[in-house]
Amino acid sequence: MSPDAVKDQVLQALMEIAPEADPSGIDPTQPLRDQLDIDSFDYLNFMIGLDRRLGVTIPEADYASVSTLDYLVAYLAKRIPA
């Protein structure tokens, strides 16, 4: 899956938990949770959505390394099952 396709899936999963968010306004280099005011329950639902859409389970220990949109897309692109 191309990085753009992964990004599209990530944004769709984000819209499920923050439907009022404007994807074009997201700075891909800044922490997602801060930008969209996502709390831990919404973030868990986001992780569940990514797992369902892409088949990638992100361990809690890796949360810090996927904090931005750019980091998250790169992380997922490497791990999506062929």
């Binding site: 819209m15 499920e16 938990i17 923050a18 439907p19 009022e20 005011d37 709390d39 831990s40 329950f41 919404d42 868990l44 639902n45 992780m47 569940i48 959505g49 797992d51 389970t57 992100i58 361990p59 809690e60 220990a61």
Partner: protein, 379 residues
């Protein structure tokens, strides 16, 4: 019109989910009303048959006004059919069933946009979490050639302003009438954090547990040990509650907050409590709260840890007599056995009503809370 909090004086009936002649069962959602706290789903508390609907959609009535009459269970048909529902496709799409009048989760913004376009959200296929109808679903739906003329729903700005007024009224009353006292303590939660890490690493992502679940359970169990903090103060007297209906302060994405109850929180297992929290927060933010959840919290807990807050001293929500505040779990220097170590610590606070309890008893609660968290596997 049910009272959904001591500060509620009226509500607007938005829609009926039943019609005259329908058999209804206790707990069934029969109507939606608009209040200062947002849209609330009204449940029925008896089995029976709807005799007559007395209030038309769009009508604002005072609390206590009869909305409908109900014939008792004895009047129910001998073999009641399933409650009548609108036609739905024979095979539902991935987003769930669709059909006019169907109960559906709709985000507040999507509901507002649907109203503007004259679209009934229950006719849409929701692609959001749990089949919720999102803004994108509404925007993608064909606009009716001639929009129906439903009762005008409150615009978002009005709703936010009304909620702000309701919060201000309740908090002003609280500060005017309730002599608060405040206590705080720091709790070493290293055992809890380690236990959660082990547990969550061994389960699918959908079964992960957040710290809020064991923290709230410890609050509920601690309240059983200090019952002066769990109940209501009405008509000049304290009425303790045998049940712990834990009000959970939930911020809304469009601003404001509500504090619906998780019933019998002290009796729920941690997984059950986690699922109840996820369900409640999802429904509240999707614009769907049930009347029973707003009517009877016996205490409230507010958790601002996600906002990076170290500690929060809450304002008691009348007629309750206490509110527990939880901050962020952070690594802090901690002295243990004569050594200074970095440990995960959470600050817990208690705001309580001096008419009912004093600092000594409040301190007992915080002490119990701390003790309970040292054995998370037993919660």
């Amino acid at each position: 019109m049910p009272s959904l909090g001591a500060d509620m004086v009226s509500g607007t009936l938005v829609e009926w989910r039943v019609k005259a002649g329908d058999a209804v069962k206790r707990g069934q959602i029969i109507a939606e009303v608009e209040t200062d706290k947002g849209a609330i789903e009204v449940e029925i508390f008896e089995d029976g048959v709807v005799d007559a609907l007395l209030v038309a959609p769009g009508t604002k009535v005072p609390v206590g006004t009869p909305l409908a009459t109900l014939r008792g269970a004895a009047a129910m048909p001998p073999s009641p059919a399933a409650p009548p529902t609108a036609a739905v496709p024979p095979s539902g799409p991935a987003g769930g069933e669709v059909g006019r009048g169907r109960q559906v989760r709709v985000s507040p913004l999507a509901r507002k946009r649907a109203a503007e376009l004259g679209i009934d959200p229950s006719t849409l296929r929701g692609t959001g979490a749990g089949g919720a109808v999102t803004m994108a679903d509404v925007e993608a739906a064909p606009v009716p050639a001639r929009a129906p003329a439903p009762p005008p729903p409150p615009v978002e700005a009005d709703r936010s302003a009304a909620m702000r007024r309701a919060i201000a009224a309740a908090m002003s009353r609280s500060k005017r009438e309730i002599p608060h006292y405040y206590l705080a303590t720091d709790v070493d939660v290293s055992r809890l954090v380690a236990w959660l890490e082990r547990r969550n690493a061994a389960v699918p992502v959908a079964q992960r547990m957040l710290p809020a679940a064991p923290l709230f359970k410890a609050v509920a169990l601690g309240l059983k040990e200090v019952p002066e903090l769990n109940g209501t103060f009405l008509d000049g007297a304290f009425h303790p509650s045998a049940a712990v209906h834990l009000g959970v302060a939930i911020s809304l994405r469009q601003g404001g907050l509500v504090a619906p109850a998780i019933h019998d929180a002290d009796k729920l297992g941690l997984d059950e409590l986690m699922n109840a929290l996820r369900d409640l927060i999802g429904r509240v933010r999707g614009g769907s709260i049930r009347s029973s959840e707003l009517a009877d919290p016996t205490v409230t807990v507010t958790n601002l840890g996600d906002q990076g807050v170290r500690e929060v001293f809450g304002v008691i929500f009348p007629p309750q007599v206490a509110i527990v505040g939880l901050g962020r779990i952070t690594q802090r220097p901690w002295v243990a056995e004569g050594r200074i170590e970095a440990r995960p610590v959470v600050s817990a606070t208690l705001s309580a009503d001096h008419r009912v309890s004093d600092g000594h008893r409040g301190g007992r609660f915080l002490s119990a809370f701390e003790r309970l968290l040292q054995e998370p596997e037993k919660l």
